[in-house]
């Protein structure tokens, strides 16, 4: 073991070495590894890490060094992107390679986005057995959108031999097919972009009539593409064949070099011909075309695959000792005896192949040769980074435009501005930070410690002898000590910014600006208070400043402290917790624009509610959620109006990770996860014209009346449908309430302009218009009023003049329900009164506010399931005092006679009575009408390929979704389906959708509107046909009823459900005698 450690330290690249390399930009490469889940990203990273001696060659592929989280190791998937700096020596030049390993699971595509943003090149891995998978598509698109150059790695070729038992020729054909698939994807991306460009250009031309003569057309674009070499092809050298597990890999040029000596062909010819339909004609000693046609073995099979196949055959399958020796000799491999004698054939094989065709060399040399250095950043990418999608580069301020040259130059001199992009914040235990890490002890220290330990041991032994009881004492004390230490450390969670520096040099002690994602150089003010941090900023400020304290270099699981880091590198910055929420730009000039927000493939859609298991831990959870929000770029945390804490994540796996993080890192308390509460609304409708089997209801009012009014038959308060007359309990006051559905247009208007209503409510509270509302708001309100008046006038004539009779809106005085005043002798000013400048002579009656409050309470919780009402109008038609002479002056009487105060005590103050009868009256009149539930609806946009459309509709149908439109996206095979889906049904929707369509359909949900569920929850069959169709009990599920009962159950209200369905089928408690 000590031997191992020595070599570990020796080969390990020191920070000094790295920092010297960082300055030589042409030898720096920033790359990331992208692929579908389980295609071998982390294994490949392991092999590369092993080449630097950070982990042993033996462990490569098993250790998964980049997966530092415990759950990553257990689940075997990567969940976050992590970076490491590697050294590589090629042609006597030292290269510094900053490698980022990214996760492949759909749920973590936000991590891919952050990784891609920081890199210049990418290794795209494809599993040759599984082929091109959905995530391959997604990551390739991300790389494409960020303009970074990919290299293809065809991985797991060993599985073709060992599992699928392909012959070498079959394998060749298979590999060809996969290459075609990948290139097809590239082509698709290219064409869709090209089409987008042309249409955008067309738009631009049509918009700006000055008409710059832009002659973008297909041919020019295609020509450009030719130059770009976007396609993968082995002879271009951007394809690597590999098996990361057995740690071998090669490119065509590798074999070309080898065989050019042996066969006497020039290397160039071989490079061009090894991949393709060529064969060697042994007679003429020449390479000829048409291998397939003539039934010959293609060169690739003959020269490359056959060799690999024979190695596998000898070592892995036949285990032929002589053959192995022969191979060792011809390839001049030196195998350590312990590998050669190893029982496991795989270990033997790896020992051979990793020496013969080391994967790290193949990959890293390609990376150095083909992928661009930070210096080669092109103009297009710069512009893309600097300006938001809709914005044009020329529209940026001059100073900002000037920065472009700095981007392109990527100079690290002191005079060039510092520009750093932070793509994510990630948490690190303080213990891991280099400044807190334990340093190896010197000999003297070790000696001293040893002595101390010996002393302590002796003491303990002596104590033991003296008093046996003290045994119990000492260990317990020890345990306590360590426990306390841990607790202290637990709180030390530090956030480090994952960043890339694009220009200038970042140094310790430098003071830089942190520019938030919404920062706009054109409008920003120039004065920045150094003391500010994120929390203090108002909504239009996006700049803070901070002093650079800690700079880190990523070394996989560890961090190295650096003094300064020049342009073009990937780095970590500490101490930014208070300045950056998720991502930001750091610069020495405020003219630097905020970098465009990243393209996220998976938007967060899985909503759950989070609660502490112990109610008293509420605060810890809230704080933990805040930290989580900062640490994860793809999570949304919010507090609902109901007080629930809701987190929205990209998928179930992502959710699980967030919960684990929350429990173990951020909140450190147990939490429970539950379905979030889904709000409903209640409303009334006009009586239906047809029954449930589409038979016209003949005598219009009869059936509905009998249904709904049956339970009110012996209730003399109900006058007729929708009209209720109700007395206060002390019989002094009579109120007549009429309930009707609001016209749909009005409801929509009210929902749309709820902010205006809020403003209106505020003004009416203070009675002083000018102080609160500015003139535009008043104008808006007046417009709004006239709009409503217009709509009312267009409706049935019963709504005539309704606008001026509006007494109040509800609930909360701003909702989509209206209280109308149609009391003949009460000429009350309407809600709009505060808008009229002319003072009004009309006055309020006493207890006016009680009626409003009663109405507010009724609309806030309807009778169906105590949810707010929606689109209901209550009309007060009568309001009379029976035994008072003068209307409204009821309170005077209580002094005049002693009888009334006693009465008052029985029923409480009259104001309270009025409030409650208005509430009850509203509810009752509501109940006499046909009631409906109103559900919140999501608008659901789904991208899917044609072959999973059927499955997609199936999932939608099961969840009561309704398809609105289906379109094919231009230039791709993707369909875009638009649908609406009730919010109640959305729990687990995304997950099911992904599972059923094997990840090929990705839904996006957005709240869109409220929609009446057109099913009467209280419906029972009444007509003959309905009995025939539904049976006597109406067994078929009534979805409105289910929704309603669920809400009622949740709230502990009475549910009309049988406790036991079949009395006879209960467990027999007493034995039959």
């Amino acid at each position: 073991m000590p031997l191992f450690f020595q070599c570990y330290n020796m080969k390990r690249n020191t920070p000094q070495q790295v920092s010297s390399l960082q300055h030589n930009l042409s030898n720096v490469r920033n790359i990331c590894i992208l692929a579908h889940v389980d295609h071998g990203k982390t294994t490949l990273a392991d092999a590369l890490v092993a080449s630097n001696g950070i982990i042993s060659q033996r462990m490569a592929g098993k250790m998964r060094y980049m997966d530092s989280r415990e759950d990553e190791q257990i689940r075997g998937i990567t969940m976050k992107s992590s970076a490491i700096s590697l050294l590589y020596n090629k042609d006597d030049k030292d290269y510094l390679i900053n490698l980022i390993d990214s996760p492949g699971h759909v749920d973590f595509s936000s991590e891919v986005s952050t990784a891609v943003r920081l890199c210049d090149g990418a290794l795209l891995i494809v599993d040759v057995v599984e082929g091109v998978c959905p995530q391959t598509h997604a990551v390739l698109r991300q790389a494409w959108l960020e303009n970074i150059k990919p290299v293809l790695v065809l991985n797991k070729i060993d599985r073709l031999i060992t599992e699928l038992k392909f012959s070498s020729t079959e394998a060749y054909v298979h590999l060809q097919q996969i290459l075609v698939q990948v290139n097809l994807l590239t082509n698709e991306l290219y064409t869709s972009e090209a089409m987008g460009k042309t249409s955008a250009v067309a738009d631009e031309c049509s918009e700006s009539k000055s008409g710059e003569a832009q002659s973008y057309d297909w041919t020019t674009l295609e020509d450009e593409e030719e130059d770009k070499n976007i396609f993968f092809s082995p002879d271009r050298g951007n394809v690597i064949f590999a098996s990361a597990l057995d740690s071998w890999g090669f490119t065509i040029s590798h074999f070309a070099e080898m065989y050019s000596k042996k066969l006497g062909f020039s290397k160039n010819v071989l490079t061009k011909t090894i991949w393709g339909d060529y064969y060697v004609n042994m007679k003429t000693k020449s390479i000829q075309k048409g291998a397939q046609f003539k039934g010959k073995k293609p060169l690739f099979v003959q020269l490359v695959l056959d060799n690999i196949w024979s190695v596998y055959d000898a070592i892995f399958i036949k285990r032929d000792k002589d053959m192995i020796e022969k191979i060792q000799k011809t390839l001049s491999l030196k195998i350590a005896p312990r590998d050669a004698c190893h029982n496991d054939a795989r270990v033997q094989l790896q020992a051979h192949t990793s020496q013969w065709l080391p994967i790290s060399k193949a990959v890293l040399s390609i990376v150095c040769d083909i992928l661009p250095s930070p210096l080669q950043i092109n103009e297009e990418r710069t512009e893309k980074l600097m300006c938001k999608q809709a914005q044009r580069f020329d529209s940026l301020p001059k100073e900002t435009q000037a920065l472009k040259s700095d981007f392109l130059a990527c100079k690290s001199g002191d005079d060039s501005p510092v520009i750093v992009f932070v793509s994510k914040m990630f948490p690190v235990d303080k213990k891991i930070l280099p400044q807190n890490r334990q340093r190896p002890l010197t000999k003297e220290e070790l000696q001293a410690r040893r002595e101390k330990a010996v002393q302590r041991h002796a003491e303990r032994m002596s104590k033991l002898k003296v008093d046996e009881e003290s045994i119990n004492g000492t260990p317990i004390q020890d345990v306590n000590d360590t426990g306390q230490e841990e607790e202290q450390n637990d709180d030390n969670q530090v956030f480090i910014a994952f960043a890339r520096i694009f220009s200038g040099t970042i140094k310790r002690g430098q003071t830089l600006y942190v520019l938030g994602p919404k920062h706009n150089p054109a409008t920003a003010s120039h004065y920045i208070d150094p003391a500010l941090c994120l929390k203090d900023l108002s909504s239009h400020q996006h700049i803070t400043s901070f002093t650079v304290n800690n700079l880190y270099l990523f070394m996989g699981r560890e961090l190295e402290l650096m003094e300064e880091i020049p342009a073009g590198n990937i780095l970590g910055i500490g101490g930014l917790e208070d300045h950056i929420l998720k991502s930001a730009t750091i610069s020495s000039t405020i003219y630097c624009p905020a970098f465009t927000s990243m393209y996220f493939d998976a938007l967060p859609i899985v909503r759950v509610a989070i609660e502490p298991k112990q109610a008293s831990n509420m605060k810890a959870v809230t704080d933990g959620l805040k930290l989580l929000n900062q640490a994860d770029p793809c999570v949304i945390v919010s507090v609902q109006e109901t007080g629930e804490h809701v987190i929205i994540t990209a998928g179930e796996v992502h959710l699980q990770r967030c919960i684990d993080d929350l429990q173990e890192r951020y909140a450190k308390v147990e939490v429970t996860v539950s379905k979030p509460i889904v709000p409903f609304r209640e409303t009334v409708t006009l009586p239906p014209k047809v029954d449930m089997v589409n038979e016209a209801i003949i005598d219009q009012n009869q059936p509905t009346k009998s249904n709904r009014l049956k339970q009110f038959e012996d209730d003399d308060e109900v006058k007729e449908e929708g009209i209720v007359e109700i007395f206060t309990p002390d019989k002094t006051c009579l109120i007549r309430i009429h309930c009707v559905p609001l016209p749909k247009a009005i409801t929509e208007l009210l929902v749309e302009h709820s902010d205006l209503l809020k403003a209106l409510h505020k003004t009416s509270k203070t009675d002083d218009t000018e102080n609160i509302l500015n003139s535009t708001a008043v104008q808006n309100l007046i417009d709004f009023k006239s709009k409503i008046a217009n709509v009312f006038n267009q409706e049935h004539k019963s709504w005539k003049d309704a606008c001026n009779q509006i007494w109040s809106f509800g609930p909360k005085k701003t909702g989509p329900n209206i209280l109308l005043n149609r009391i003949p002798d009460y000429n009350r000013p309407s809600v709009w009164s505060c808008l009229d400048t002319a003072t009004n002579s009309q006055t309020f009656r006493d207890l006016d506010s009680c009626i409003i409050n009663g109405f507010q309470m009724a609309t806030f919780a309807g009778p169906m399931c105590e949810e707010p009402m929606h689109g209901v109008c209550f009309i007060i038609e009568k309001w009379e005092y029976l035994n008072s002479t003068s209307n409204g002056q009821i309170d005077d009487k209580c002094e005049s006679s002693s009888a009334i105060p006693r009465k008052r005590d029985v029923y409480g103050p009259l104001s309270g009575q009025v409030m409650s009868i208005v509430k009850d009256g509203c509810r009752k009149s509501f109940e006499t009408q046909p009631q409906r539930l109103v559900a919140a609806m999501y608008k659901c946009e789904i991208q899917a390929t044609a072959d999973v459309l059927g499955k997609l509709y199936e999932v939608l149908g099961k969840r009561n979704g309704r398809v609105l439109s289906e379109e094919m996206k231009e230039g791709t095979q993707l369909f875009i389906v638009e649908a609406t889906l009730p919010v109640v049904e959305s729990f687990g929707f995304a997950d099911i959708m992904r599972k059923r369509t094997s990840g090929l359909a990705s839904p996006q949900l957005k709240f869109s509107h409220w929609e009446i569920i057109d099913v009467d929850p209280y419906w029972v069959p009444t007509t003959e046909e309905e009995y025939l169709h539904f049976g006597e009990k109406a067994d078929s599920q009534n979805c409105a009823l289910t929704y309603m009962n669920n809400v009622r159950k949740r709230k502990g209200l009475k549910v009309e459900e049988k406790i036991v369905e079949h009395g006879e089928k209960q467990r027999t408690l007493t034995r039959n005698k």
Binding site: L581, A609, E611, K613, Q614, A615, S616, M618, K619, T622, L625, K626, N629, I636, V637, S638, V639, Q640, E641, T642, G643, H645, I677, K765, K812, S849, C850, N853, Q856, M857, E866, D891, D892, C894, E895, G908, P909, S911, G912, K1049, K1051, G1052, L1053, K1054, V1055, E1056, E1057, K1058, I1059, V1060, H1062, G1063, E1064, Q1066, R1067, T1068, L1069, T1070, N1072, K1073
Partner: protein, 252 residues
């Protein structure tokens, strides 16, 4: 009396017995357990799911059928089915296990809902979700009393929460505007200040006009104060029944 022989018996198992004393006689019917409340709530409509047999007994467990003469005397009919319905509607029964459980559960929920509706977290001024309240109530070992109404019990829960500090909780405040003539203003001002939790506006011009936040529990007190002490000249207007944060908020 009929001879009791094993062959002549039809044993009933799982019986819920409903008794009715009428005309000095005791009548019983045999029902299925957990079904009677459903019948009384009109949820169950099939009588055969409720009754085990359409026979009126004087003692179900002994299998003694009521005498026709007695039935005639008391119910004016000897139709057993009809009498069964009457007994079912009016008789007394022991509430069976599941019914009791369902009842207690829904009451527990109801109490939690009321608490969540009336209270806020003083830190955020937002309500607690019902599930949180339920958990806290369980931590409190609160037991539901089936014969007390839910609102009373909810108030009790709130009190206990405050005493035990299980969770930070506070009644959602009510916002009032009190208008009091100048004469009584001075006197009342101090009194109101004592009752109110917070005073938002306090303008003494011609009349005293105050906007205050109060605990809903003291509404009646303040109402009495204003109306009586001013001899009906003072006015109280409720501006907001529940002062809580509105709308969703992103945590950042």
């Amino acid at each position: 009396m009929a001879l009791k022989q094993p062959t002549g018996q039809k044993r009933l198992t799982n019986i819920a017995v409903i008794r009715l004393k009428k005309g000095g006689k005791r009548f019983e019917i045999a029902c299925y357990p957990n079904k009677v409340t459903s019948w009384r709530n009109k949820v169950e409509t099939d009588i055969d799911e409720v009754l085990q047999s359409h026979t009126v007994f004087t003692n179900v467990s002994k299998g003694e059928v009521a005498k026709t003469a007695d039935l005639k005397k008391v119910f004016d009919t000897d139709n057993h089915s009809e009498i069964c319905l009457k007994i079912l509607a009016k008789g007394e029964l022991q509430v069976s296990e599941k019914e009791r459980q369902a009842n207690a559960e829904s009451m527990f929920r109801d109490i939690a809902t009321v608490v969540s509706d009336k209270c806020v977290n003083p830190d955020t001024n937002r309500p607690y979700p019902v599930t949180m309240i339920e958990k806290a109530m369980k931590d409190l070992h609160f037991s539901v009393k089936p014969n007390k109404n839910t609102k009373q019990q909810a108030l009790e829960v709130i009190k206990q929460f405050k005493e035990n500090e299980t969770i930070k909780i506070q009644r959602a405040q009510m916002r009032l505007r009190a208008t009091i003539p100048a004469k009584e203003g001075k006197k009342l001002r101090e009194k109101i200040k004592k009752i109110a939790t917070q005073i938002e506006e306090d303008a003494f011009e011609e009349d005293l006009e105050m906007v205050v936040l109060i605990d809903p529990g003291v509404y009646r007190e303040i109402d009495d104060l204003v109306k009586h002490d001013t001899k009906g000249k003072g006015k109280i207007e409720i501006l907001n029944l529940k002062e809580i944060e509105e709308g969703d908020e992103k945590l950042e």
